[in-house]
């Protein structure tokens, strides 16, 4: 009787470990392509026929580059940043290093507020919990303060601190880029 109980507990433990291991492995990968993300976010507000989405570029002037580098705390490469726009809604696909590998993050901004953040590709072996929708939902409604930081406090994740910081930076950067793209005087 006891032996059967121990066997059952052993196999349940084994199964739980396997499930945990598989969830850790599946945290790494490409989850959505850039074009699919753009289609998804602009289709949400209506049918495809109603939405005029334009592919545009934001040229990184010295001022913009300087501010972007302050937000990211590292040099910014490239002379221009590609984004998609429909009316005052913009979508940005940006990359930032988590611990060692770049995380590709899609950010949608409307009326200077974040309305969606999504991890499109996660390449680190750990810390993938950051991509869960419940966590990403924290960014919704966030705006940029005068010091170019998010006005909302974002909860951390144990073991994924650097990934969380990377998403915070990218979210703030997208808000800044949006302000420059939609209203360059600010």
């Amino acid at each position: 009787m006891h032996n059967n109980l121990y066997t059952a507990v052993f196999f349940i433990g084994l199964l739980t470990s396997a499930l945990l291991a598989s969830s850790t492995v599946s945290a790494k990968g490409v989850f959505q392509s850039g074009p699919d993300f753009i289609s998804e976010v602009f289709l949400e507000q209506g049918t495809q026929a109603e939405v005029q989405v334009q592919s545009k570029v934001l040229w990184l002037t010295d001022d913009i580059r300087q501010q972007a580098e302050k937000i990211l705390d590292r040099p910014v490469q490239g002379l221009r940043i590609r984004y998609s726009r429909s009316a005052d809604k913009t979508a940005w696909i940006l990359e930032e290093i988590g611990k060692e590998m770049p995380i590709t993050i899609g950010v949608v901004v409307d009326q200077n507020k974040i309305i969606k953040v999504k991890i499109l590709a996660y390449r680190e072996s750990r810390g993938g919990e950051v991509r869960f929708p419940a966590y990403m939902a924290q960014y919704n409604g966030a705006t940029l303060t005068d010091r170019h930081r998010l006005d909302k406090s974002i909860d951390g994740i144990t073991g994924a601190t650097l990934s969380v910081w990377a998403v915070n930076k990218v979210a703030a950067l997208a808000l800044y880029y949006h302000s420059q793209a939609v209203n360059p005087k600010k």
Binding site: S33, G34, S55, G78, L79, R82, I93, T104, L120
Partner: protein
Amino acid sequence: MKSTNSIKTNILWHRRLGLSIFIVLIFLAISGIALNHSPALKLNSIGLSNNWLLSWYGLEKPSINGLQLDNKWLYHDGNNLLYVDKKTVAPCSAPLLSGSKNEKILFALCADALLLLTTDGDLLESFTQLDGLPVNARAITAVDDSLYLLTDSAVLEFNSDSLAITPSSKTESTLLDTLVTFAPLPKVLEQHLEEQDSGPSISLETVILDLHSGRFFGQFGVLFIDIIGLLVCILSITGLLAWISRLRHVKQ
């Protein structure tokens, strides 16, 4: 008397063994500690590109070829960097597959991204596979005002303003003559590349790990480390026996 001799023999062999392997043991201890703290010491990011080491690992420094686009040379260091003449442009996964230019932009097709550069070699932006670059894209060419991407299965037209990719009616055979082909770099640029100490390299972590396990010297190296392992066991046993014998001797 017999017991005293036994202790002496034990200690003698213990000393002989210890003296013969102590240098290897110290190396194994230090290399083991270094490997345990490899991420903190960033051993993986330290590349060694010594010619002797590369040839020991069966790697050769490749003869670097480049693409001549008018008066500019576009080339790759064989590792992770793209150059325009002497200027480092941007990270670019090896190999550099193809390059082309139109009036305003240079295009460099790397293994996983298409880099758009100004004619001065400044990076405009990267168009990656995540952005919609076909995975099997292997060449890019400019004909008149249009750009074409050649993939394994189709020819696609590429709009460098919108980054849109659309099917093209052109066939690969009609575009082959327009492709820019690789040619040996001028000596000046070859020298420049050598001065940058770029190209294939082996991480310090790999070298230490191979030295630690003996793999660096092939199967004889592994066997040697195995023998060292056995000698360490014998050393522990002789040390223990000597200690026990001495303890008994003192009691008697």
